[in-house]
């Protein structure tokens, strides 16, 4: 005697990106926390010391936020004009920032007043940074020069004027205190060595450079500018390794994740893209406004993004712990012993094992289908939870009912409430190519059955109106698509050489069927 075969829920793969480990990793961020600043946020820098506070430079202030606070724990407001490029020293105790008027200020994290002021630039200083020995500060300015300052004595050590346009990007080397990389609007990226006092390497980016970034090994250099992100191999003398064009507006910022050194780039097109080690985009974050600055905390604990509209959005990583607190709240089931009872018995060699018949567990709708209760089975399949989170189960039950020839019986004799449920389900899913065929059939049957009584219920009537509207729109869309397909066909036909007349329509159709097959 064969057992009851449960309804087969067809698993149809969704089109689109595949789920990989990386996408799972990057999806594992909570929804962003939004903090409003006074102006466009030009720079975010994380403190290298735990608890990894971060400095946000916006308008005439620099705010320092704690990892989970939404209020600044400290703010530096002694700027007469817009502040730029606030960045921490390697020990996290000092902060340096440039400003619109050309002054560079050095702050102690615990103090309020600037410890030092470096004056010398004639125009706005957009980027400042400590060199890795911590005693010198390097700055890039709109007066085309880069200057190096001594912190204890507050004097200018050297001035480098090799760039021919604004210097807007800077990255000091962490391994060598005499090396730093600058990027400028003159389309070049230069590597300076303080020992020689001049640039040792020059790379042509091809667009105004907005940001430069060194890999921790300092063998690779990333520069962004225009729509391009370029990666240079410094060990090969500045050879271009790869050029990425994934954004459709200027790429303003880039940073590296500390886990696996994945590259993240942010752009004015409001997207943050995450690349894997072979520079393929594996994930995409969407933001509300054009992105100016971005930083990621050590261990990827938080991703802070600054935007042109002055909104700072911080995404925190979701942790296993958070989930545990959720599950612990749930009712405790039977203990582990109950399930393994007698299952871990290992038979001895001569033992004759009598296997217990395996009980077949059926879903509720299967049980109802087994006893031919078709209306109830449809009701079960249309329960809110199934309907919303697993529409394929609902559709599978509908298909099964149709196969049994009892779909009409199951749909008949319903009241307003359950009919609304069905119609809402139709409205939501009738255009899904996976479900449209059975659902159109359901729509037909519903119309046939309830034609006479529709006008009695305004709710149902309204839903039907909407269904008709969306169906009309969909039909128009399909027609347009067919027209486009026709145009494409003629294009393909004219492209292929005369010899292969037979296989002309092959490439597009092949792709289409592959999608279906997949």
């Amino acid at each position: 005697m064969a057992s009851f075969k449960p309804t087969k829920v067809q698993f149809l793969p969704k089109l689109g990106e595949k789920v990989t480990e990386e996408t799972l990793y990057w999806k594992n961020y909570k929804s962003p926390v939004q903090i409003k600043e006074f102006g466009a946020i030009t720079k975010i820098d994380f403190s290298p010391l735990p608890p990894h506070n971060y400095a946000v430079t916006a308008s005439t202030r620099i705010h320092i936020y704690g990892p989970h606070s939404q209020e600044p724990i400290r703010s530096f407001t002694r700027f007469r004009d817009t502040a730029y490029g606030g960045s921490f020293r390697g020990d996290g105790k000092l902060l340096v920032a440039g400003s619109e008027e050309g002054l560079i200020r050095l702050f102690d994290i615990s103090g309020r007043v600037a410890l030092r002021q470096f004056a010398g630039h004639s125009k706005a200083v957009h980027v400042t940074s400590f060199l890795s020995d911590g005693f010198r500060v390097v700055s890039g300015s709109d007066d085309l020069s880069c200057r190096v300052w001594d912190v204890p004595s507050a004097v200018e050590l050297s001035s480098l004027t090799e760039h021919t346009d604004y210097v807007r990007a800077l990255a000091p080397s962490k391994l060598n205190p005499d090396l730093f990389v600058t990027g400028s609007y003159d389309h070049t990226v230069k590597v300076f060595d303080m020992r020689s006092g001049s640039s040792v390497m020059t790379m042509q980016h091809g667009h105004p450079v907005e940001c430069v970034l060194l890999y921790p090994s300092e063998a690779l250099l990333v520069s962004t500018g225009g729509r391009y992100v370029k990666v240079w191999d410094l060990l090969k003398g500045g050879q271009e390794l790869v050029s990425l064009k994934n954004h459709h507006k200027t790429v303003t910022c880039a940073c590296l994740s500390s886990v696996g050194n994945k590259l993240l780039t942010g752009s004015l097109d409001r997207h943050i893209k995450v690349y894997n080690s072979s520079y393929k985009v594996v994930h995409n974050f969407d933001c509300d406004a054009s992105i100016l600055s971005m930083a990621i905390a050590p261990d990827d604990e938080a991703l802070a993004v600054g935007m042109t509209n002055g909104v700072l959005s911080v995404r925190h990583r979701r942790h296993q712990k958070d989930k545990e607190t959720l599950t612990s709240r749930r009712r405790r089931g039977p203990s582990y012993q109950v399930f393994v009872k007698g299952k871990n018995f290992v038979p001895r060699q001569d033992d004759f094992l009598v296997s217990k018949p395996v009980k077949q567990y059926l879903r509720k709708y299967d049980k109802q289908l087994k006893s031919f209760e078709v209306s109830k089975a449809l009701d079960t399949a249309l329960q809110t939870w199934t309907r919303t989170s697993k529409p394929d189960v609902t559709v599978a039950v509908i298909i099964e009912l149709n196969r049994r020839g009892t779909l009409k019986n199951a749909l008949a004799g319903r009241n307003e409430e359950s009919l609304t449920k069905i119609l809402n389900f139709l409205l939501k899913h009738i255009f899904d190519p996976r479900f449209s065929r059975p659902l159109l059939m359901v729509g037909d049957i519903v119309l046939d059955l309830y034609q006479q009584v529709f006008h009695e219920s305004p709710v149902v009537e309204r839903l039907l109106q909407r269904l008709m509207e969306v169906l009309g729109r969909e039909a128009e869309l399909q027609q347009e698509l067919l027209q486009v397909l026709g145009i494409l066909d003629t294009l393909f036909a004219s492209l292929t050489p005369r010899k292969e007349v037979m296989a002309h329509a092959a490439p597009p159709v092949a792709q289409e069927s592959q999608l279906q097959a997949a």
């Binding site: 037979m502 092959a506 069927s513 592959q514 097959a517």
Partner: protein, 791 residues
């Protein structure tokens, strides 16, 4: 044209075993059922086929245990004879010649020496008029007796034999026809009839479908077309009869049966649910659902411990009285039509075709046994008349038997056609096929045909469909395990009709109406087109081995066309003939073999099956049968084959062996030695089947003697031992010989492919072989000396 008497058409795979109710023997050890022109005996415990009672020359239409002797069985046949058999030994005891085609047989304990038979009213049975006659069987010692004492009990009875039943202790006989129930009392010699209205207000259909009488009570149960069961009582009085109605079945009740004590009533119908009603308690019932095909007959053993149901899918189920299935006897499932071709599973060499609805059946031709059903559709089957079900319509194996592609379809009649293309991979661990990929919308219209590429390295599937396209499917595009589309092609929007890969799969031929297109599967380039003489192409096939340059096609105008692809030259032959089998060599326009009027029906499909071991037939005309066998399927779903004289001898010897095995009594010695012998056989069968055969009779005599004799009369074990051991020895010479033979056939076996059309290389004759062996055994050591001395 050669007409050969040596080659004979033989039925294969058994006939229907579900035509008439099966019988369980009194000791519950055997099940007997009718099967074509023989009666088959199965064991209830092992479900094995023991032997068949052969002797009738036409369809056996009824069997009944002899009430006087429970080891004997009566059988009646359409050839006009009733035969009495000893079914345990399979011996024909007597033949009674009636002279009219018989359609059913009934016996009763009370009427000793009398059988009741259905015969046609007029000599032509088309009129559907049947009568029930009582025949007095004359007692005489002769083998063949003419029984002429016919007395009609009733005329105008139903052609359905389950509409007639004997009542309590054979006092009356009840038979129903359409809307009338008749009861004939033997003592009164009177017939009472009770009739129902055709329909009542509720639209019930009251026609009788079956009848059963209570064994100890005056009660008749009748089944009706609308699924009702009526229990008639008090019918001894013509006017004051009563009946009660019970209703569970939603379609016609096919069969009814009381258990021997009369405590329960069993009923079955199209729903395939066996229902057990408790007699006398109204509505208490038990169910045994999902037994397989719809239930046609139910019978109970005389002690009430076993029930037997026979199903429409050619199956007999043995059920214990506790409502547990304890055995299934499955014949070749015969559906309505074989939509898939006849195929050979390259791995198990089993014949594969449609079986139960939604299944593929694997039938071993070598052992003549149903192996298993592969569930393709994987959905609960709803037994309901007129429901549009999923059917497996196409199936194809790849050359190694690792992949199976199937197409299932639903809604051929209505507008919305649903079909799935499924790909199954062979799982070594479970030894069966596992679903790998389901493709929901492979084409926009139904798939006409498909084939796998024949190369060993890469498997590719090509499907052609009515939407004018052919698609190539490949596995593992971007490292995935499932199949996806590789190429889509079409030719002037013509409808494709068939496709075939060449032997090395370097070419793909796709026929579009009257044009054959040849493609290269590597580059998907159209290489050439071949235009046929008028007529749409139906089938397409490449030659194999030495004939691989030939492409053979058949058209709707009875043309067989052959293309030589090296020169693109055209060879053609036209032929016609009803019910004829032609066998061709691809390089000769004349048929190699023709067999006219093979059978009385249309032949639908044919397939070549490689033999396990080749025959040594040197006859010119039947040489093509040496290495493969041709099986073909007729319209009525009969599987036929050609057999030669040598083969039949072999069949005969193997069947006698089986009988010996079973007749051994179960003594302690048997348990001990029988186990030993089975092991030995197991060792032997795969390699030295030939060696085992001549040895068997000699050895088995000693062994059976040993096993039959009670232990206390046996001589001491020391005496027996040497005798027994020597009987087990296999003589040296026989083994050597057969091994040489096996090697030869193994190498040839590999070259064999299903549906092959290669030419047959002439085999060495016996004399030549012996000569060869002699040369091999000669000592050539003197040559070594010669060679050494030379330089």
């Amino acid at each position: 044209m050669v007409e050969e008497s040596d080659v004979r058409v033989v039925r294969f795979g058994g006939s229907k075993i579900n035509l008439r109710p099966p019988i369980i023997s009194t000791d519950s050890r055997f099940v007997l059922c009718t099967s074509g022109d023989s009666v088959k005996v199965y064991s209830t415990r092992t479900e094995e086929w023991l032997h068949s009672l052969q002797g009738h020359t036409n369809q056996v239409t009824g069997i009944a245990l002899n009430p006087a002797n429970h080891l004997q069985v009566y059988s009646c046949s359409a050839d006009g004879t009733v035969k009495l058999w000893d079914f345990i030994d399979g011996i024909l005891i007597k033949t009674f010649i009636i002279g009219y085609p018989l359609f059913a047989i009934y016996v009763s304990e009370k009427h000793e020496g009398i059988v009741f038979l259905h015969i046609a009213m007029d000599t032509d049975s088309k009129k559907e008029g049947f009568q029930l006659v009582a025949v007095h069987l004359p007692k005489s010692a002769e083998q063949e007796v003419e029984a002429k004492e016919l007395s009609a009990v009733s005329s105008h009875i139903s052609p359905n034999p389950s509409c007639t039943a004997f009542g309590r202790e054979g006092q009356y006989i009840a038979f129903a026809r359409n809307l009338q129930l008749n009861v004939y009392f033997f003592r009164k010699q009177k017939t009472y009839s009770f009739s129902l209205k055709a329909t009542d207000k509720k639209g019930a259909k009251n026609a009788f479908t079956c009848i059963a009488c209570h064994p100890t009570d005056d009660c008749i149960a009748t089944g009706h077309e609308d699924g009702k069961i009526r229990l008639w009582r008090n019918f001894i009085h013509k006017k004051e009869y009563t009946y009660s109605t019970q209703h569970w079945h939603h379609n016609a009740v096919n069969t009814l049966c009381f258990t021997p004590e009369g405590t329960n009533l069993l009923s079955g119908g199209i729903e395939s649910v066996l229902v057990q009603w408790q007699y006398g308690t109204g509505n208490r019932k038990e169910f045994l659902p999902r037994l397989g095909g719809s239930i046609l007959h139910v019978s109970a053993s005389s002690d009430g411990q076993l029930f037997c149901t026979s199903h429409s899918d050619n199956k007999i189920t043995v059920i214990e009285s506790s409502f547990k299935v304890c055995g299934v006897i499955q014949g070749l499932v015969k559906g309505d039509a074989v939509l898939t071709d006849l195929m050979i599973d390259p791995r198990s060499k089993a014949l594969v075709l449609n079986g139960k609805p939604g299944h593929l059946q694997f039938y071993s031709l070598l052992r003549d046994k149903h192996l298993y059903n592969l569930d393709i559709v994987q959905q609960e089957y709803i037994y309901e008349a007129g429901l549009d079900q999923f059917e497996v319509v196409k199936a194809a194996f790849d050359i190694k038997g690792y992949w199976l592609a199937t197409v299932e379809e639903r809604g051929q009649k209505s507008a919305d056609l649903e079909f799935f293309l499924k790909l199954w991979s062979y799982d070594e661990r479970t030894q069966s096929f596992v679903l790998n990929t389901t493709i929901t919308a492979a084409h926009t219209d139904r798939i006409i045909s498909m084939c796998f590429s024949s190369s060993e390295e890469t498997t590719m599937l090509v499907t052609i469909a009515e939407d004018g396209q052919f698609k190539a499917w490949c596995q593992g595009v971007d490292d995935q395990n499932f199949w996806s589309c590789d190429f889509v092609g079409s030719y002037h929007n013509l409808k494709p009709t068939n496709c075939s890969f060449s032997a090395d799969s370097s070419l793909l031929a796709v026929s579009f109406q009257e044009v054959i297109t040849i493609w290269s599967p590597d580059t998907w380039e159209l290489l050439t087109t071949l235009c046929q003489p008028p007529g749409v192409i139906r089938d397409l096939c490449f030659g194999r081995l030495s004939c691989s340059k030939y492409l053979i096609s058949t058209t709707t105008r009875n043309l067989l066309c052959c293309w030589n692809l090296l020169t693109c030259a055209f060879l053609m032959d036209s032929f016609s003939g009803l019910y004829t089998v032609f066998v061709f060599k691809p390089n000769e326009p004349r048929p190699l073999f023709t067999h006219k009027n093979v059978c009385s029906e249309k032949i639908h499909r044919a397939v070549f099956v490689p033999r396990e071991e080749p025959l040594n037939n040197c006859d010119e005309s039947s040489q093509w049968l040496n290495r493969s066998q041709l099986y073909f399927l007729t319209q009525n779903m009969d599987l036929l084959t050609f057999s030669t004289a040598t083969e039949e001898d072999r069949m005969l010897s193997s069947s006698t062996r089986l009988v010996i095995d079973d007749s051994v009594a179960v003594t302690p010695f048997y348990l001990l030695l029988g186990k030993h012998r089975q092991q030995q056989q197991k060792l032997n069968t795969p390699s030295h089947q030939a060696a085992d055969r001549p040895q068997q009779p000699q050895g088995s005599v000693t062994i059976t003697e040993l096993l039959h004799t009670p232990a206390h009369v046996l001589p001491p074990a020391s005496v027996l031992c040497s005798m027994f051991v020597s009987s087990l020895l296999i003589s040296n010479t026989g083994e050597e010989d057969s091994e040489g033979e096996m090697e030869a056939c193994d190498s040839q076996q590999e070259l064999r492919v299903q549906g092959s059309v290669d030419e047959v290389t002439p085999k060495l004759s016996k004399a030549q072989e012996r000569e060869l062996k002699r040369v091999r055994k000669t000592d050539f050591s003197w040559m070594a000396g010669l060679i050494a001395s030379k330089p």
